[in-house]
Amino acid sequence: MTQPDGISLDGVCKTFAGRGRVVEALRDVTLSCPKGTFTAIIGPSGCGKSTVMRIALGLESLDAGAVRVAGEPPLEAARDGVTGVAFQDAALLPWRSVRRNIEVPLEVLGRKPDAAHVQAMIELVGLKGYENSLPGELSGGMRQRVAIARALVTHPQVLFMDEPFGALDQILRRQMNVELQRIWAETGSTALLVTHGIDEAVFLADRVVVMHAAPGRIVDVIDVPFDRPRKPPLFSDPAFHKVCDHVAEVLHGG
């Protein structure tokens, strides 16, 4: 069951106490992402999909179960620099330039920034020429690309993304999906994407994990069979829509 290089959650339970009542956020969540695969988690608001990721990142404690990231407990994996992360909002430090924002994880891990590598990341996400711009001077899509570059700068074996394009419009989002696939393919990392966009999940992932709320649980794991690299025309392919419809059915069905 345990994958030494991927992500594995085994029987994870989590409850939140607040405002006089107890919310069961996750019940017995078991999930395994083999090395080098792309997994998307999809589900309605409040189904605990973000909590799954925050637990895998070590940002939340868990009540029961076990989590391994590249064979290590989450916080150790984080400290070893195994993981990379991008959040729903770019969450950039507004007072730092693009380059200095991308260097944040290196600073936290106590690594010396390699200027050439940072520059390569900037170019990888297509922000050449904006190295010294402040986040306030960038568009929403550009900020999100900075967040992706920041997530990749540590050469992560495991890449976590929590609705990284949630704040973008549909057109920009598709462009970013294509770019993300390209970048992911180049790095060969294990990716876990949390999203509420069905087409995004199907376009990017090898497997789509569908969750339901109250209590948060996994109801189905759907394999996506398309070859890579996937191209934008796939978005209008009937086969693509068939998979999307299936995901939607599971999502909305009982």
Partner: protein, 502 residues
């Protein structure tokens, strides 16, 4: 539009100055005790030889107090932001630091400390609360998503603080420093009144009080105002230059994780008791540390003995209660009047921003002008009765209340105001439906702010003009070397402010 408004402000100020000049020249107010601006300027020029030494001394004390107070405040703010239990534990001390009436503290500082120390301490005290609060708020409001990024890479608490929170708190801290800077100057001047020594604007003012020369008193007041105003403007400029890059790009919608409040009942009661006890422990410790002789420096125990156990306790209690009976009602009335005035101003600022922009310079002057210089003039205009006390109290309370209310009003979303207007509502309807309800929560905050200031205003009036109540008792006890009473009055006025604040 902005240029037009600035021009209107300038014009109003000029009109006011001109009016002042005419009134002064004709001796219309108080038989000529209000000198015209031209006389004040001439006098300033004549006295120019005296000023450098005094200004330097005041600046020295204010700068030292400003630096020390802010270092302590930022350190405390960081500690409190990192540790909510510490924040709860120090709540008593923080409120006391905020509510301390400087007029009651100044003589005590002068008694227990020597040299520049009382001035520096009072300046530092004036700074502490503002900056500490700004730091806590700044850190607490730091972008929690950015914090997550650092934590997701295994960043420690310290890394989160260093990389995200502290830098994120800078604008808030700078805004705090802006308010704190004039406080430091005024604190230093107030301490100079009681501190002795030859130099300092406060000393100069006191030395000049007996001269019967209002033009010089006003001159000193203007210089003090200028220094306080410049320090405010300096930090305003600094924060404007730094602020540009620091605003979060998108609104942070993440709700901070609910604090695990309390625990078992006994722990909560223990915490509450410790919060109340800590200021007294600190008081006791400071006395012991200062090494001041027991006759002068009273510990909480000494004050308790003085008020309840000593043979003279009954007389002391009677005096104190009589003074309180005179001071409290007028404090309350003054506070209500000050708040009402501030509320009216805040509403007016919404209706007629132009009027307010002309009024603001005058309001600012009343805030930084040492009351000791103004009071003799006010006495001539208003006599020594209740109306004088009321006016002084209103003048010290309305400004912070107004600022709080105006800030609250500025936060009302545009769309909320546009809604009634879209249905053709008049200015008044809009005011009634949106502006006033929106500002009510801030009225509550403003009330808390004004309580200690109202008490301060009343005590100053009593001390300098009416010869009643706590202010007079404090002054008289100083003259009679009745140290027990000095400490009692100080303790009672602080406790009162804290109780009202709660």
């Amino acid at each position: 539009m902005a240029a037009e408004r600035r021009f209107a402000g300038l014009r109003n100020t000029l009109i006011l100055l001109l009016l002042w000049e005419i009134i002064g020249q004709l001796g219309l107010v108080a038989g000529g005790a209000l000198p015209p601006p031209s006389d004040i300027l001439i006098r300033l020029w004549q006295d120019r030889g005296d000023y450098p030494g005094h200004i330097l001394a005041t600046l020295q004390a204010s700068v030292a107090g400003f630096v020390i107070g802010n270092v302590v405040a930022v350190a405390a703010g960081v500690l409190f932001a990192l540790s909510p239990p510490m924040l709860r534990l120090f709540r008593g001390i923080n409120i006391a630091a905020f509510a301390l009436p400087p007029i009651a503290i100044a003589p005590i500082l002068a008694l227990t400390l020597s040299g520049m120390a009382p001035r520096v301490t009072l300046a530092a005290l004036g700074v502490y609360f503002v900056t500490m609060t700004a730091t806590v708020i700044g850190i607490a409001q730091a972008d929690s998503r950015a914090e997550d990024v650092v934590r997701a890479y295994g960043g420690s608490r310290w890394k989160v603080l260093r990389l995200v929170q502290f830098r994120g708190a800078v604008p808030s801290i700078l805004a705090g420093l802006r308010v704190a800077a004039p406080n430091a100057v005024l604190g230093a001047i107030l301490a100079e009144f009681g501190g002795g020594g030859r130099w300092g604007l406060g000393t100069y003012l006191l030395g000049s009080l007996g001269r019967g020369e209002p033009d010089r008193l006003w001159g000193i007041g203007l210089i003090a105002t200028l220094i306080a105003g410049l320090s405010y403007a300096g930090f305003a400029l600094l924060s404007r230059r730094l602020l540009g890059a620091t605003k979060a790009v998108t609104l942070n919608a993440a709700v901070p994780t609910g604090k695990d409040d309390g625990g078992p009942l006994w722990a909560r009661i223990g915490m509450a008791l410790a919060t109340v006890a800590l200021p007294f422990v600190l008081w006791w410790a400071l006395i012991k540390l200062s090494g001041a002789p027991a006759m002068i420096a009273k510990t909480p125990g000494d004050v308790f003995t003085y008020l309840f156990l000593a043979p003279s306790a009954e007389t002391a209690q009677a005096k104190l209660l009589a003074a309180l009976a005179q001071t409290l009602p007028i404090t309350f009335i003054g506070m209500v009047a000050g708040l009402a005035f501030a509320f009216a101003l805040a509403i007016l600022s919404k209706l007629s921003p132009r009027f307010i922009s002309g009024f603001m310079p005058v309001a600012l002057i009343t805030q930084t002008m040492p009351l000791v210089a103004l009071t003799p003039l006010l006495v001539l205009i208003l006599g020594r009765g209740t109306s004088l006390t009321l006016w002084i109290t209103i003048s010290v309370t309305f400004f912070p209340a107004f600022v709080t209310l105006a800030q609250g009003l500025a936060l009302v979303p545009r769309s909320a105001e546009d809604l009634p207007r879209a249905y053709g509502a008049s200015r008044w309807t809009e005011l009634r439906m949106v502006t006033i309800p929106a500002s009510l929560p801030y009225l509550f905050a403003a009330t808390r702010l004004t309580v200690p200031r109202a008490l301060l205003g009343v005590m100053i009036a009593e001390w300098l003009a009416t010869g009643r109540g706590l202010g007079n008792l404090l002054n008289q006890s100083r003259g009679y070397l009745d140290y027990g009473m000095i400490w009692s009055v100080a303790a009672v006025s602080v406790i009162l402010s804290v109780v009202f604040y709660q």
